[in-house]
Symmetry: C2
Subunit: 320 residues, 2 copies
């Protein structure tokens, strides 16, 4: 069966959230704030009470960020069964605990309980979609839609399908999240941990090694990011930031000049061979990302961005 | 000879900057903005012209950040020789090109050309201080003072001594940078790449692997950080952020619950063994960092921080 969603992404009105813990509840808050009708189901006894408390706690932040017209906490319905939650849903976000067998059977159950063609996204933080397919399920409309915590504040969602997912389902989900106010990265290939988690996991493991070896304290590690590169990463990614280290010559100059430092023991992660192909891919990628912006434009953007972030986080004018 | 600086860190008035490229020039701009008299020397023919242009370009940003009383671009003197630059200096910042033999001989020359006891810091981005000691030098007063680019905007400076560095010199330099408006991490042990560079190098290498394997584009990688974890890292470090993922149970719950994911292939960097000692060190470090702040305090701080950063970087209210 191919995935032919009943509605266009722009016409979605009813979203079902299955699993209402920290992540599922965060999704509920996000969709309510964007003006959707939301149904939620969670097997825990006190799930409804906890969920309404989470949404209510998040609401002042969501008001600050700007609610969609008609957005209301009253548009949340918590149902006693999974079937009731998803029966009329135009889209389903699954945020069950991170257990593969549980996810697999739950997703299969969801393809049965939803209308034909309804797209179902899993919040899994690392399982490839292909591992969550199963024989009985309508696999074509199952995708990963991986958010960051809390989903109502952090824009990123990573969308990727599995071997049996229809390409159209991946495209529909990406478009839907975009309409629903998220920043979407659509991946062409499955990769354990997706993209952002791989990057932060590398950093996390390096940090664990440092603490394990008595090389740095938790406080030092956190300070080294918030007082250093983290200030830039809030608005300019690490690769474009590195390109600026190459001056007018950009990423090309940076790699040609500092390439040898890839052999330095500056992390426990072995670097790839800096082939001509990799060098060129990095250069072209940075040029594409910079677009019309010149080196001077990017430097000015970085500098003003750092000042804005320092000011926004209370670090200008005061001694620490 | 032990390092007995002629002045207390609070009494420093004259700073010499040796090497006036992007980093050295950035230091010049920083020290001028903090109200110091600055002398600079660089062997390049057009060094003075480039340096004054860099300082002048940085000045509007420095005005936004708030100048110290009496701060002026007129308090910069570019000297024709290294000896003249450092003869009266109360502190020296060396920012020569990243070549070990050059750094070693330059630092030795600087211990000769300065007054007895004057502390000399190297901006090296990765050489251990011990590798930059040399037989003829007064090694006791040589330290690493590693900044992030641009040094006049990014607060972080990592301070560490080498085998022959006096402990007092490390303490003096840390205190001086603090007085001069930097955020200081003082390291007890030498570690190639120090702290922040190791963390960002792990992330950089993971990103290179992904591009080399066609797993993600440059744009995807950068977006995954700026739209995701990078928003939090501008004001709350990765470790305290992870602790929040453990809910009320904090880092302990997080490690006990998600520890097994260290075995997942989520990065090419092998994780350390999660021993009881490492677990406890992480938990205690996070508790020390959180101090009096409760879980609810930290969540509120994170949420408000993300909103402030989104607003400061122009991402609230507008579609991207």
């Amino acid at each position: 069966m191919t995935a032919t969603p009943p509605l266009a992404p722009e016409d979605v009105r009813k979203v079902a959230c299955i699993g209402a813990g920290v992540i599922g509840g965060g999704w509920v808050a996000h969709f309510l704030a964007r003006g959707y009708d939301v149904t939620a189901w969670d097997p825990a006894d006190d799930a409804e009470e906890k969920l309404r408390r989470l949404v209510s706690a998040a609401w002042p932040a969501l008001e600050q960020m700007g609610l969609a017209e008609g957005a209301s906490q009253d548009r949340l319905t918590v149902t006693p069964t999974l079937a009731e939650a998803v029966a009329d849903a135009d889209f389903v976000q699954e945020s069950a605990p991170e257990k593969l067998e549980l996810k697999r059977s739950l997703l299969a159950e969801l393809t049965d309980a939803t209308r034909d063609g309804v797209i179902i996204a899993s919040s899994t933080s690392g399982y490839p979609m292909s591992d969550m397919h199963s024989d009985g399920a309508d696999n074509g409309r199952l995708v990963v839609g991986h958010p960051f915590n809390p989903p109502y504040l952090i824009p990123l969602v990573e969308v990727v399908g599995g071997e049996k997912t229809d390409r159209a389902a991946v495209e529909w989900a990406s478009r839907f999240y975009d309409v629903a106010g998220k920043s979407v990265i659509t991946m062409d290939r499955e990769l354990p941990g997706f993209i952002a988690n791989r990057l932060q996991e590398a950093l996390w493991r390096e940090a664990l090694h440092m603490v394990a070896n008595g090389e740095a304290s938790v406080q030092d590690i956190d300070d080294s990011i918030t007082e250093g590169p983290g200030l830039r990463w809030a608005f300019m990614g690490p690769l474009l930031t590195f390109a600026l280290a190459g001056g007018e010559g950009g990423m090309g100059h940076m790699l040609d000049h500092f390439g040898p430092s890839l052999k330095s023991p500056w992390t426990r992660l072995e670097a790839p061979e800096l082939t001509r192909e990799l060098r060129d891919a990095m250069v072209e990628g940075c040029e594409a990302e910079a677009g019309e912006r010149t080196y001077a434009d990017l430097v000015a953007e970085r500098d003003q961005g750092v000042i804005n972030v320092l000011r926004a986080t209370g670090r200008l004018g005061g001694a620490e």
